[in-house]
């Protein structure tokens, strides 16, 4: 059996379903949810291939240790645990592997099993290498759902059951004392957008044309770490090793020099366009189209052209 902790602080229902689809071909999947699933959630996780949904009341802000306790209470000695490769998923996986004495592999992109062994592949060293590793079946693995489009198998009608366990928060764990919700905005999330327009130091803090182009194209705005550090973009917009990993169809890097840490977050983009005034910027070695020039000029002209194209189409 495969046990998947879902409903985490930093996952979405769509990413949860992708994770289930990624592993449903391997074995029977049991999902551990943080609240009782409604009919739609049961149906969508069933369509993704889940056999069983266990749930326990665990609010998004409850201590991560509760999720580790809940998992530990229902994982069998032969079971594989697959968690989302998010920050909370990684913490859960790390603590569970430690507690159970299991092998752990993080940020796997593919997973297969033969004769009681797992084989996982993952990017390494800022995406410059691909590693394949073997580990026992009963391990703990985190999987990245970014850019994954796994096939859908036969839909199931999952059994839903409340987990029969007393979950008591450990007083040593950090507790949330304040929450400031973020404006989700109208466009797609960075992780799901098929077009990402990202800005760096070269924008000089003016993201207005990037935002206009992203809106016109139905995309999302990303940024380099430097731009976030300078307060030009929000932390949730950061693309790179320490921010979001994205795999859009098109990534437009405007005024981003292309440090390896940034490339690690966007190297899986299908097509990359870079705009930079410096012809020697490293980003020009990691793109498909490189435009040497002023990004505000190029983006302004692009926005004008795209707008006139859009107007030419009758509604």
């Amino acid at each position: 059996m495969i046990l998947c902790p879902l409903d985490l602080l930093d996952t979405t229902p769509e990413a949860d379903e992708t994770l289930v689809r990624m592993v449903a071909g391997l074995d029977q999947v049991t999902c551990l949810l943080g609240s009782e699933p409604d009919r739609d959630r049961v149906a969508s996780l069933g369509a993704a291939g889940a056999e069983r949904l266990l749930w326990a009341p665990m609010a998004p802000e409850s201590p991560t240790g509760l999720r580790v306790d809940a998992l530990a209470s229902c994982v069998g000695p032969e079971d594989l645990v697959v968690a989302p490769a998010t920050r909370q998923g990684t913490e859960i996986a790390a603590r569970l592997a430690l507690r159970l004495g299991r092998a752990i592999s993080v940020s796997a992109e593919t997973i297969t099993s033969t004769e009681g062994q797992l084989e996982v592949t993952a990017g390494a060293f800022s995406g410059t290498w691909r590693l394949t590793a073997e580990l026992p079946y009963a391990s703990v693995v985190t999987m990245s759902t970014v850019g994954a489009d796994p096939a859908t198998g036969a839909p199931r009608a999952p059994e839903v059951r409340r987990l029969d366990v007393d979950l008591v928060p450990d007083p040593r764990e950090p507790v949330v004392i304040g929450t400031t919700a973020k404006d989700a905005g109208d466009g797609p999330s960075l992780a799901q957008a098929s077009i990402v327009v990202a800005g760096g130091r070269g924008t000089d803090g003016d993201f207005s044309l990037l935002e206009q182009l992203a809106t016109l194209l139905g995309g999302a705005v990303g940024s380099s770490r430097v731009a976030v550090d300078l307060g030009w973009a929000g932390p949730e917009q950061q693309v790179g090793q320490t921010g979001a990993t994205v795999a859009p169809d098109l990534y437009i890097a405007a005024g981003i020099s292309g440090a390896v840490q940034h490339l690690a977050g966007m190297s899986a983009a299908k097509h990359v366009v870079a705009i930079n005034t410096d012809p020697d910027a490293p980003i020009f070695r990691s793109c498909d189209l490189g435009i040497v020039g002023d990004l505000q000029t190029v983006l302004a002209e692009t926005v004008t052209t795209v707008r006139s194209h859009a107007r030419a189409i009758p509604a």
Binding site: E91, I104, F125
Partner: protein, 257 residues
């Protein structure tokens, strides 16, 4: 009181990674450095130090890993502790966490452990929560701000949906992100002063830790195929925008043309 800061000596991420025959990072071949993500932890530790307290930089690694501790001393740490032992070559995250937790315990009066959010080479981010669990302390991860008060630590964390404030009782483990404030660059005076600060090297004989292989084995490693050389357009009279619009119309015909 002591603030311990866990640091790692890593190959420069700007250099191509070199793997040894066993497909692990060849730490002898690479020119190493203090992991850039750990610099934030060192700088936060030094800022959070009260008068009369000490900051101890702790690392596990081959002899050369001492360079990471030296850098931490230059950044203001008071002492260094290097755990080095041939049997630790290729140690996994669980073993690394066990060694670091034992090292922290050996310091005696630690009430705060600071870590970077992950390393830039292994990039797993699993060691801070493991160290916390092994010490029996709470772990407040991915802090963008840290305030240390009597008996507890308050952190700010940026989650995808919200910014959250968390409080953890001390002692605790806190990992900080690269958005927690740029570390200050050490002055020449600080670099000289670091030479006089004590660094202790200990082996596993002095710091008993039970280590065990848990069965993860890298069986293949390939260099990711590089992107084909780009078409470069120098923007003259709108040629840049023209090339970009061409990409949009070619790849997203429904949305644009």
């Amino acid at each position: 009181m002591t603030i311990a800061v866990c640091v790692k000596h890593v190959p420069d991420p700007a250099d191509p990674a070199v793997l040894a025959a066993d497909l692990r990072v060849d730490r002898e071949a690479a020119a190493g450095m203090l992991c850039s993500l750990d610099e934030y932890a060192v700088d936060r530790a030094v800022q959070l130090r009260h008068p009369g307290e000490r900051v101890v930089a702790v690392t596990m690694g081959p002899r050369g890993a001492r360079a990471a501790v030296t850098r931490a001393l230059q950044m203001g740490a008071d002492e260094g502790l290097v755990i080095t032992d041939p049997s630790l070559a290729g140690a996994d995250a669980v073993t690394t966490a066990a060694v670091l937790a034992a090292a922290v315990r050996s310091l005696g009066d630690v009430d705060l452990v600071l870590c970077g959010m992950s390393s830039t080479d292994g990039s797993t981010g699993t060691v801070p929560p493991m160290v916390a669990d092994l010490l029996g302390w709470g772990c407040a991860g991915h802090a963008v701000a840290v305030v240390r008060e009597a008996g507890h630590v308050t952190i700010e964390r940026d989650d995808p949906d919200a910014r959250r404030t968390l409080v953890a009782p001390l002692p605790a483990v806190v990992s900080v992100t690269d958005l927690s404030g740029e570390p200050s660059y050490p002055s020449f005076k600080a670099i000289l002063a670091a030479k006089r600060r004590p660094v202790r090297e200990v082996s596993l004989a002095e710091l008993p830790v039970r280590t065990s292989a848990r069965g993860l084995r890298t069986v293949a490693a390939t260099v990711a195929p590089p992107r084909a050389p780009a078409r470069i357009v120098t923007d003259v009279d709108g040629s840049g925008a023209h090339a970009l619009v061409q990409v949009l119309t070619d790849r997203f015909p429904m949305g644009v043309s």
